[in-house]
Subunit: 351 residues, 2 copies
């Protein structure tokens, strides 16, 4: 019953010297060569010296945010992104929406024997470009190689440290009746892009992932509407629906959406209709929800729209007293309906 | 060519409710149940509230150590330890030998569909016991479930933050001619224990892993011989040989060992002879090397031997001017010989 989707296997004709082998695994000279000449050389910075078991960091203050994510996305490359940039942006975004400035990253690779070194290089280059874009440094890491079949291609863990230079938003427990729900852009793109790539669906145009960092958008939001923001969250696994269900559980109120106001790209909408997927349940990797005091609705939307990446930000609903369900939606045709919390696996391995 | 060693498969008769399924994966209600009722409840502490994407931490100073490791050991349980405690001690030890006091841990799980929930519980309980023993808190985490065959049982990433409350040792670049090389206990146990368990070798008595935390030993060393210590390192992948080769590369000197002085347990020595493995190349998970100024040899050994865990600490060699090889050994019979740096895979998936 092995799911071979996305497994990278070396063509038989390829010399083993072009692939990762078990010789790269166990504290050997080959390991040191791989780490020194293929990984460390890409992440040179003042904190990375030798082959550090631990990086020594100097903080500018004593309040930090700490977050971790493992990435197991299949396939490794998809329209709009790849596992490398995704692993950087995912952790950067968790730090950013917590209200922290992303600073340092650890990078841990689990590589299946037989992955072409060219594939590894491509992923590493993507990680370098993504960390540059986020002004964040990889300062410590780990590399494990497992025998063929014991993993599927490449898994990446990134763990991040951010600094709290301003007071973070109070969080979803502080959400009140009348608060406004904003989304930073069109929803559901990432889940559909990965699904379409994995299943090789002949969609035209193919959905592209929204995979992107949100630290600049969050900085703008804090600058323009800091005091009025109750909560921010990037709507990753489980999509917008999962975040709103969590927020409802945290504040005890109903999140009410207006279907006509929810931005969805045409190609995502088309794919969702074809596949019977609700875009509210599909994952995002560069799109966030914001709950904000109603008095600050205009300035918060203006702040979002002032950044090109979130120019299509929209108000999608409001917070109301506890009603028929944790999350409801006013459909284009018909009355208010509950939005289910997804109960099973929609799209495994989308991040 | 799938290596099925160590894969945990649910017996067909077991109800799916007793196993991890893909429904636990994707931001669904099942995911929230798994995380809330099986993971978060075990790691309750003031820093873990709700289902945090990021933990907020207050440091007592501005200098921290940051380290990451992914654990892919097979089998998941072996004499003397298991993947859970190993994942805690491995990261704690990286922080400790860097000279930091271990404080916080992230915990990221990649679980193969079909792993029995009872197995997951056993691993989580082992993690809890290990963190208690190390006085360290798990404050943030991530859980991914991948389809059967896309991983092998359970992989764990732990990433740790430690605080520098005292000046760390200067490191291997500061090692000088005449320095003394100490080891905290018998070597090579972990690699042999895992190999014997995986290959079901009928060794009697079976080698037991030395998997254990070193933070208390390091605290004692810093207290008793802080100024005289040049470098400390836990001798994990690649064993004592790999660490000494790295130190030689860092300081440009030869590490010279005395074979008769190197402590090796009888069962490890027997297994090594049987299998043709040099204990210098076999991994340890709770045994460290210390390079120290010769004037502090006695007090450093006394400090090590004052802790029951490292009562068998020994002087195993000295540092000499660059000679015939990076690392040499005076064999019991015969003259000084070079110790090779392992070039290939001895024992994959030993941590």
């Amino acid at each position: 019953m092995k799911d071979i989707t996305g497994i990278i296997q070396c063509p038989v004709a390829v010399d083993a010297g072009d692939c990762v082998t078990l010789a790269h695994s166990e504290g050997t000279r080959a390991t040191r060569d791989l780490i020194t000449n293929r990984i460390l050389n890409r992440f040179a910075n003042p904190h990375v010296t030798g082959t550090p078991d631990a990086a020594c960091l100097s903080l500018s203050n004593n309040q930090i945010a700490f977050t971790t994510d493992s990435f197991v996305v299949s396939p490794l490359f998809f329209p709009g992104g790849d596992i490398g940039s995704l692993a950087v942006y995912g952790t950067v975004n968790d730090l950013a929406v917590a209200g922290a400035v992303p600073r340092w990253l650890s990078l841990s690779l689990i590589i299946e024997e037989g992955v072409p070194l060219a594939t590894l290089d491509e992923i590493l280059e993507s990680i370098v470009a993504a960390t540059d874009r986020c002004n964040i440094s990889v300062v410590t890491g780990d590399t494990k190689v497992v025998p063929r079949g014991a993993a599927d291609g490449v898994f990446i863990n990134t763990t991040g440290i951010g600094e709290f230079l301003t007071t973070p938003p109070p969080g979803p427990e502080s959400i009140r009746c009348g608060d406004v729900l904003l989304v930073s852009g069109p929803i559901g793109s990432h889940g559909l892009a990965v699904l379409a790539a994995r299943e090789e669906l002949a969609l035209e145009p193919a959905p592209r992932s929204d995979s992107a960092p949100l630290h600049e958008v969050v900085a703008e939001l804090k600058e323009q509407a800091g005091e009025s923001i109750r909560a921010m969250r990037d709507a990753t696994r489980g999509g917008v629906s999962a975040v709103l269900h969590e927020w409802s559980a945290d504040c005890g109120l109903t999140m009410t959406l207006e279907e006509s106001a929810i931005p969805v790209n045409d190609e995502v909408r088309g794919a969702c209709e074809l596949l019977g997927i609700d875009p509210l349940h599909s994952a995002n990797e560069g799109t966030m929800l914001i709950a904000v005091d109603p008095s600050a609705e205009e300035q918060t939307l203006a702040a979002l729209r002032s950044v090109p990446q979130t120019a299509l930000a929209a108000k999608i609903g409001t917070v109301q007293s506890a009603g028929i369900a944790a999350v409801t939606i006013q459909r284009l045709l018909g009355s208010e309906q509950p939005v289910d919390e997804p109960t099973g696996a929609l799209l495994p391995r989308i991040c």
